[in-house]
Symmetry: C2
Subunit: 345 residues, 2 copies
DNA sequence: TTGTAAGCGTTATCAC
DNA sequence: GTGATAACGCTTACAA
């Protein structure tokens, strides 16, 4: 297979490699006729520039790294999917990585991406302050970084998220208004948003003069969304039942837990929403078909993805020093959809 | 930022670039002491080889392309997720692409991947014979390709799938044994597996002397799994109702439709499984929490991903001509999980 | 055991 | 307008 490259094109057309390169890059110096000849020949022979040679020379790539905790979490999946759609008309390629909420894996992903000379990176950090120095160094010296979802991270750059405390405040308030006072809050380990979401939950309780109970903030420890955490949750709720403290409403503070809580309550023979009303924080379209249909707080993944890409491309294009910029913190609006799981008679 | 590269390391240690390169690659020619010095310095200065330079020289990369129809389809998502897990201990990086079942997008993905010099590609083709020539050319001359899921594609290589007709045969048979005879089959457009799955369905009917009805094979046309196809399906079933031909059981032949059918039946005020029993072909863990819990045929995504990677790496390593090889067609076993949606009293 | 030098395919800087 | 030529960072004969 005679490889077709700039040199072979040049030889075939009696031109120099330099001229061919300029013609292919539509340089103003080259006369139209030559350009046409080159482009025609290139098209005919299905010429594709070698990105490695080009990038070696220019130091630039059209790659965009995406670093997320999990692909198997509905929110991140939707986000990635929207990012793919947004990037389609652009001339960039996504390289997604999962960190499993693990700082070390995140570091590996970031190292790999920088070694690939990516043009920019979109990140939802593994932890509130994971890889701070590395992220800072990359953002300042290597390529721009945009943060999304877990925007509590201290890296100074554009951040895209939602108003977490407001959303859980509203969800909690809704349950209170429906007459429920024993409201539990379900959350994973300390991953960024958790604090804000708990704060909204607490504030709602406070504003309605409902005493806050530590035992109603239920922390579930899981490494992976596909992990079987149901049994652990069942145990927790059983204990509450024994103490006659079973909540009659639950706010699910994460994607993963929101989905699984229905199974847990079913296993405990508790009826939703009669015994326990539930509102989840998740982006799965299946919420409508769950048993019962689950009320959910949905994040605007499409807008988030589009904005993330837009801001990233903006930073990629402008060459200014990214240390002294003024970055905006975008708080987009989530949408709460009320379904059967909160329909209290 | 003084970039650290082989030259700078060589200068710092009073060695030649060649020696440094060999030391970094653990060449047998270099004495241990030198290796240690080089490795220590490299580690200390956080040296990362420039992959573009390396690949420009060697013509090899550690990239693996993955081409799937959709990320938002539970089966493909699980597959990709398992692939990520499988590739973790290896020294390879995944570059996933979605084709949206569109041959043109598939071609673009393949072109891009070959231009990136990927070491190999794992593909579930957009259509039964999409990009046949291109795939063949790549497999023979550029890098190995493994096919999965849609293994009807004629490219001669390792293929990994399940016994589609057998699985739908069993599912259909199960419904028949439970006394249902008006069994519909729900499928998307002609994407590879559909034919086989319909065949299994037909065979089961045949073996139990149940006449096959063309109108019970319901083709739903969707471009994207997130598309709202419910209304179209509702219309189809309404027509059947009007003719008093409403099926009392449904076999869902694709991921996407299997999930959505419950919503459709709910909208039609049909009780599952009393009025209509349903068994779906899908890999979502949420099946258990759906309303009602959905019986499903699950594909062994983990085994599929592991096997795909294993076979691909095998082909990457052995340099033999891939045209004259004897390729196996792996048909793995799916698992059917029976839940409420088929529990007929 | 190490050094020298050529070359991978492209682009940029000159020169003509 | 076009052509030489050098250079990007790395690997690999071939020399020493």
């Amino acid at each position: 297979m005679g490889k077709v490259n700039i040199k072979s094109i040049a030889a075939a057309l009696n031109l120099s490699p330099a001229t061919v390169s300029r013609a292919l890059n539509d340089s103003y110096e080259i006369k139209d006729e030559t350009k046409e000849r080159v482009l025609a020949y290139a098209a005919e022979h299905n010429y594709r520039p070698n990105p490695f040679a080009r990038h070696l020379k220019t130091g630039k790539t059209n790659l965009i790294g995406v670093v997320i905790p999990f692909l198997s979490s509905p929110f991140f999946l939707e986000f990635i999917d929207e990012l793919y759609k947004a990037v389609l008309p652009q001339h960039y390629t996504l390289i997604p990585f999962q960190t499993q909420n693990c700082e070390k894996m995140e570091k590996e992903a970031l190292d790999f991406l920088t070694s690939q000379n990516v043009a920019g990176i979109i990140v939802s950090p593994a932890h509130e302050n994971s890889n701070t120095k590395l992220l800072q160094h990359i953002h300042h010296h290597t390529c721009p970084i945009i943060l999304f979802d877990r925007t509590q991270h201290c890296l100074d750059t554009y951040k895209i998220g939602i108003h977490n405390s407001l959303e859980t405040y509203n969800a909690t308030e809704e349950l209170i208004k429906k007459g429920r006072t024993k409201i539990a809050f379900l959350c994973g380990k300390d991953i960024g948003n958790t604090k804000d979401r708990i704060r909204g939950y607490k504030n709602a309780l406070h504003n309605y003069a409902i005493p806050f109970r530590e035992e109603y903030v239920i922390h579930a420890d899981y490494q992976d969304p596909t992990e079987n955490i149901e049994s652990e949750l069942i145990a927790v709720f059983k204990k509450l039942q024994e103490k006659d403290n079973m909540p009659n409403a639950i706010v699910g503070g994460t994607d993963t837990l929101s989905i699984k809580i229905l199974g847990v309550l079913a296993a405990l023979n508790l009826a939703v929403p009669q015994d326990v009303a539930v509102i989840g924080f998740t982006n799965t379209n299946l919420a409508n078909y769950l048993n019962p249909a689950l009320s959910t707080i949905r994040q605007p993944t499409q807008k988030m993805a589009q904005l993330a890409l837009e801001l990233l491309l903006e930073l990629i294009d402008k060459k200014q020093d990214r240390r002294d910029m003024l970055y905006e913190n975008f708080l987009l609006e989530a949408t709460t959809i009320y379904r059967k799981s909160t329909e209290i008679a």
